[in-house]
C-alpha cells in the first residue's frame, strides 16, 4: 500500500470533450504542481479529488489516498483538505469557531479550546479566537484558513490557486508557511496554479496542461 495521494489514470471530460488526464503518485511531503491557462480544467481535477465534480462533467480513473480508494466516498469522508484563492472563512463563526469546525470530534471543551489556541499561536495569531474573521487582514485570514485545514487532520492538501489573491510579499510568506507545514505533517500536496513562481517555490514535479 503506497502512502500519499495517487491519481490512477484519471481522465475528465465535458460533453464528450476530453479536458484533462493525469496519472501520478504524490508521496507524503511532496508537491505536484499542475499548471496551465485558466479554463483548461485544472480546478475540475481538484473537484474530482474532493468529490464535488459538477454533473456536467464525466470522469474515469481512481483516486487513492494512502492506498485507500476514495473515488466513490462522499466528500466529507475523503480527508482531502482544500484551500481556494479566497480564504472562505465561515463569516458567521468567530475565528476560533472556524478552527474548531474542522477539529475532529472528541476531547473535552477545554481540550479543544486549547488545541485551537495553540494552532493560532503557531501562526502568530494568539488571542484572536473570539475575533470576527471579517475584521482580519488578508494575510491573517489566509493563515487562519490554513490552520483550519490542518486541524482537520487531512490525508492530503489541495491548493486551488490558493495564493493568487495575495500581493507579492504576502504571497511568498503564506506560500512558504503552507509548504513548510505540509512537509512537517508529511502531507501530499496537489497544487493548481497559473503562476510560475508558485511552481518554482514548490520545488516538485510540474505538469502543464493545455500546452500541446
Amino acid at each position: 500500500m503506497a502512502d500519499g495521494l495517487e491519481l490512477r489514470e484519471v481522465a475528465i471530460a465535458k460533453g464528450g470533450q476530453p479536458l484533462v488526464r493525469l496519472d501520478c503518485v504524490i508521496a507524503p511531503g511532496d508537491v505536484l504542481t499542475v499548471m496551465g491557462p485558466s479554463g483548461v480544467g485544472k480546478s475540475t481535477l481538484l473537484a474530482y479529488v474532493t468529490g464535488t465534480l459538477p454533473p456536467a462533467f464525466t470522469a474515469t480513473g481512481r483516486v487513492l489516498l494512502d492506498g485507500e480508494d476514495i473515488t466513490d466516498a462522499p466528500p466529507h469522508q475523503r480527508r482531502a483538505g482544500i484551500l481556494f484563492q479566497d480564504d472562505l472563512l465561515f463569516p458567521h463563526l468567530s475565528v476560533g469557531a472556524n478552527l474548531a469546525f474542522g477539529l475532529r470530534k472528541g476531547g473535552s471543551r477545554a481540550d479543544r479550546k486549547a488545541r485551537v489556541d495553540e494552532a493560532l499561536e503557531q501562526v502568530n495569531l494568539g488571542g484572536f479566537a473570539d475575533r470576527d474573521p471579517a475584521t482580519l487582514s488578508g494575510g491573517q485570514r489566509a493563515r487562519v484558513s490554513l490552520m483550519r485545514v490542518l486541524l482537520s487532520e487531512p490525508g492530503a492538501l489541495l491548493l486551488d490557486e490558493a495564493f493568487s489573491r495575495l500581493d507579492t510579499v504576502l504571497r511568498a510568506q503564506v506560500r512558504e508557511l503552507v509548504f513548510q507545514r505540509a512537509r512537517e505533517m508529511r502531507l501530499p500536496v496537489l497544487m493548481v496554479t497559473h503562476d510560475a513562481d508558485d511552481a518554482a517555490a514548490a520545488a516538485g514535479v510540474v505538469v502543464t496542461f493545455g500546452a500541446d
Binding site: A11, Y48, T52, L53, P55, P74, L88, H92, G102, V149
Partner: protein, 577 residues
C-alpha cells in the same frame, strides 16, 4: 477512452438520499394537487354533474343559465378591460420608470419604499385608495370648499364606477411595486447598466437607449410575472368587491356570489362561470403573447430606424410621475386608514377629524384579536411547511443535481397563472365530495398553493447564489452534508430565509378567496373580516382592520431585517449579505 458517468455525487448513501430527492415531487403535488383537483371539481358541475347533490350530467343547462344572466356581457368586458388596462399601465409605468431613472437618486428612493409597498395587502391598499378618491375622501376634503366649492360630498360615482377605473387604479398601485421588484432582479442578471451605457455613448437618449438595448432582455426575465399580473388582475375578487362596480359586478365577484348561493343550481352556474373565467384568462394570455410578437416586430423596425429619441425627457417624467403617484397612493391610503381608525367626529369638508380617540380600537379590539389569531394560526404552519419544502427542494438540487428546468418554472407559476376563482370553487366541491370538512386545515392546504411559489421564488436566487466552494471547504473539513446545511449554509442565509418567510406570511395574510370559500365561512381572518366590512361602509372599522391587516404583513418584513442585524451584529461579513 471509454467513459462512464461519474458516480461520486450520485452514490452518497446516507439516509437523506432516500428522503431528499422525493421532496421536489412532493412539493409539486402539494402545490398542483389542489389546482388539478379544483379544476376537476369545476368541470363536472359546470356540465350539471354533481353526485353529492344527486345531480348527474352532462347537460348544458348551467351554461344556458350563465349566458342568460343579463349582466354577463358587462361582467366579461370588465374582466378583460380591467385586467388588460391594469397590466399594460403598470408594466408601462415600471418600464418607463426604470428606463429613465434606474441608478438615480429618485430611483433609489422608490426602491427603498418597495418592500413596505409590496407587503401592504391588496385589500388594505384598495380601502386606502377608496378613502382618498371617494367624493368624501381626502382629496375632495383637501380641495373643498376653496377649490371645488363643495360643502357636502358631491353625488359622484367615483369608487365602484361602472367602467372599473377605480378598480384598475387599485390594481395598478399594487402591481407597480410587484413588477418593479421583478424588474430589479432581472436587471442584475442582464448586464443592464453596461448595455445602457453603451447605447448612451452611441448617442441614444436614456429612455430610448434603454428601451432598445435593455428592455428586450429584461422583459424575457419578467415575462412570467407579467402573465401572473394579467391573470390576477382579470380575476381578482377582494379588490373588485371594494373598488369594482356593482351593477353588474365583474365576473369573478359574480362567480363567488353564485358559489355562496344556497341553491345548488346556482353553484352549477358558478362552476360554468369559473370555467368561462379560466377561458377568458387563457385567451387574454394568448392575445398578450401575440401582442409580444407584434411589439417585438415594431421594436425591431424602431431599432433599425436609428432614432435617438427626442421625447426622452417627457417620457421619463411620465414614468417617474406615475411611479411616485402610485407609491403615494398606497402610503397616503395607509395614512388615511390610520386617521379614520382614530377619528372621532369627522365632518365634510374638514381635512382632519374633530378629535382623535381610542374608542374605535376599543370597540373592535375583540374582533381584531380573534381575526388576528386565526390569521396567525393559518399563516404560521403554512409558511413553515412552505419554507421546509422549499429548502428541501433547493438542497436536493444542490446535492443531487435535480435542477428545475424551464418547464419546471412554468409549473411553479401555474398556481399563480390559473385564476383562483377558476379552481377554488371546484376545490371546495371536491372537498365536499371527499367528505372533508371545511375549516382550518383545508384553508391551510389552499393557502399553501399560493404561498409555496412565492416562498420558492424569494429564496431560490439567494440559495443558489451561495458560494458552493464554502460547501466544498466544509465537506473537506469533514462536515457531513447535513452539517454543512444546518451549520454553515442556513446560518449564512439567515436573512434571505427570514425574508422568504416574511413573503410567505404576507401572501397568506392577504388571501381572501381561499379563506372565504374553503373556510366555508368558519374561518375569519383579518382579510376576510376587512373585506366583509366594505359593504357596510363603517370607515372607522375598516381603518382598524385595514391597519392591523397591513401590520400583520409588514411586521414580519421588519423582523426579517432586524433579527439578522441583531444575531450577526458582530459579524461584518454578513451585514450586507
Amino acid at each position: 477512452m471509454d467513459e462512464i458517468a461519474f458516480p461520486g455525487r450520485a452514490r452518497r448513501s446516507d439516509m437523506r438520499r432516500r428522503f431528499l430527492p422525493v421532496l421536489p415531487a412532493l412539493t409539486l403535488v402539494v402545490m398542483l394537487g389542489p389546482v388539478i383537483a379544483g379544476l376537476y371539481g369545476t368541470v363536472l358541475p359546470a356540465f350539471g354533474h354533481l353526485p353529492a347533490a344527486g345531480l348527474s350530467g352532462p347537460t348544458l343547462d348551467p351554461w344556458r343559465a350563465l349566458f342568460d344572466w343579463p349582466g354577463i356581457g358587462r361582467a366579461v368586458a370588465l374582466s378583460v378591460t380591467v385586467g388588460m388596462g391594469a397590466t399594460v399601465t403598470a408594466l408601462t409605468l415600471v418600464m418607463l420608470l426604470t428606463a429613465g431613472w434606474s441608478g438615480t437618486r429618485a430611483f433609489k428612493a422608490l426602491e427603498r419604499l418597495l418592500s413596505p409597498l409590496l407587503s401592504v395587502p391588496h385589500a388594505a391598499a384598495a380601502f386606502g385608495l377608496a378613502f382618498l378618491i371617494a367624493p368624501s375622501g381626502w382629496i375632495a376634503r383637501a380641495t373643498s370648499p376653496w377649490l371645488t366649492g363643495w360643502d357636502r360630498p358631491p353625488d359622484l360615482l367615483i369608487v365602484q364606477d361602472g367602467w372599473g377605473l377605480s378598480m384598475m387604479a387599485g390594481l395598478i398601485i399594487k402591481e407597480v411595486p410587484f413588477l418593479l421588484l421583478m424588474t430589479l432582479a432581472a436587471l442584475g442578471q442582464s448586464d443592464a447598466s453596461r448595455a445602457a451605457l453603451v447605447s448612451q455613448s452611441l448617442g441614444y437618449g436614456r429612455v430610448t437607449g434603454w428601451l432598445k438595448a435593455v428592455f428586450p432582455r429584461v422583459y424575457r426575465q419578467i415575462r412570467l410575472p407579467v402573465y401572473v399580473t394579467l391573470a390576477y388582475a382579470m380575476s381578482v375578487v377582494d379588490v373588485a368587491l371594494i373598488l369594482g362596480p356593482n351593477t353588474p359586478a365583474p365576473l369573478s365577484v359574480q362567480i363567488v356570489r353564485w358559489m355562496s348561493d344556497p341553491e345548488i343550481a346556482a353553484r352549477l352556474v358558478g362552476a360554468a362561470g369559473a370555467l368561462l373565467q379560466l377561458g377568458l384568462v387563457v385567451a387574454a394570455l394568448l392575445v398578450w403573447w401575440m401582442g409580444e410578437r407584434v411589439v417585438a416586430r415594431l421594436g425591431c423596425l424602431w431599432v433599425e430606424s436609428g432614432a435617438r429619441g427626442r421625447l426622452d425627457r417627457p417620457v421619463a417624467a411620465v414614468g417617474l410621475g406615475g411611479g411616485a403617484l402610485s407609491a403615494a397612493a398606497v402610503l397616503l391610503g395607509l395614512a388615511v386608514l390610520t386617521v379614520w381608525s382614530f377619528a372621532a367626529y369627522w365632518g365634510f369638508p374638514d381635512v382632519l377629524p374633530d378629535g382623535l380617540t381610542f374608542a374605535n380600537w376599543e370597540r373592535h379590539l375583540r374582533g381584531v384579536v380573534a381575526a388576528a389569531t386565526d390569521t396567525v394560526l393559518i399563516a404560521s404552519p403554512v409558511v413553515a411547511v412552505a419554507v421546509v419544502l422549499t429548502i428541501g427542494c433547493l438542497e436536493a438540487e444542490y446535492r443531487h443535481g435535480l435542477t428545475l428546468s424551464q418547464r419546471g418554472m412554468w409549473l411553479l407559476y401555474l398556481p399563480l397563472l390559473i385564476p383562483q376563482v377558476a379552481f377554488l370553487p371546484g376545490f371546495q366541491i371536491f372537498l365536499l365530495n371527499m367528505g372533508a370538512d371545511t375549516g382550518h386545515l383545508p384553508v391551510m392546504v389552499a393557502h399553501l398553493v399560493f404561498v409555496l411559489p412565492y416562498v420558492f421564488l424569494s429564496l431560490a436566487d439567494p440559495f443558489r447564489a451561495w458560494d458552493a466552494r464554502v460547501g466544498t471547504v466544509a465537506a473537506a473539513l469533514g462536515a457531513s452534508p447535513n452539517r454543512v446545511l444546518w451549520g454553515v449554509r442556513l446560518p449564512m442565509l439567515l436573512r434571505p430565509v427570514l425574508t422568504a418567510m416574511a413573503v410567505g406570511i404576507a401572501v397568506s395574510v392577504g388571501q381572501y378567496l381561499p379563506t372565504l370559500l374553503i373556510g366555508g365561512g368558519r374561518v375569519a381572518t383579518l382579510t376576510t373580516e376587512a373585506v366583509a366590512l366594505s359593504s357596510g361602509g363603517d370607515r372607522r372599522a375598516i381603518g382598524v382592520f385595514g391597519l392591523i391587516q397591513t401590520a400583520a404583513a409588514l411586521v414580519p418584513f421588519a423582523l426579517a431585517l432586524a433579527i439578522p442585524a441583531i444575531v450577526w451584529r458582530n459579524r461584518k461579513g454578513l451585514r450586507h449579505g
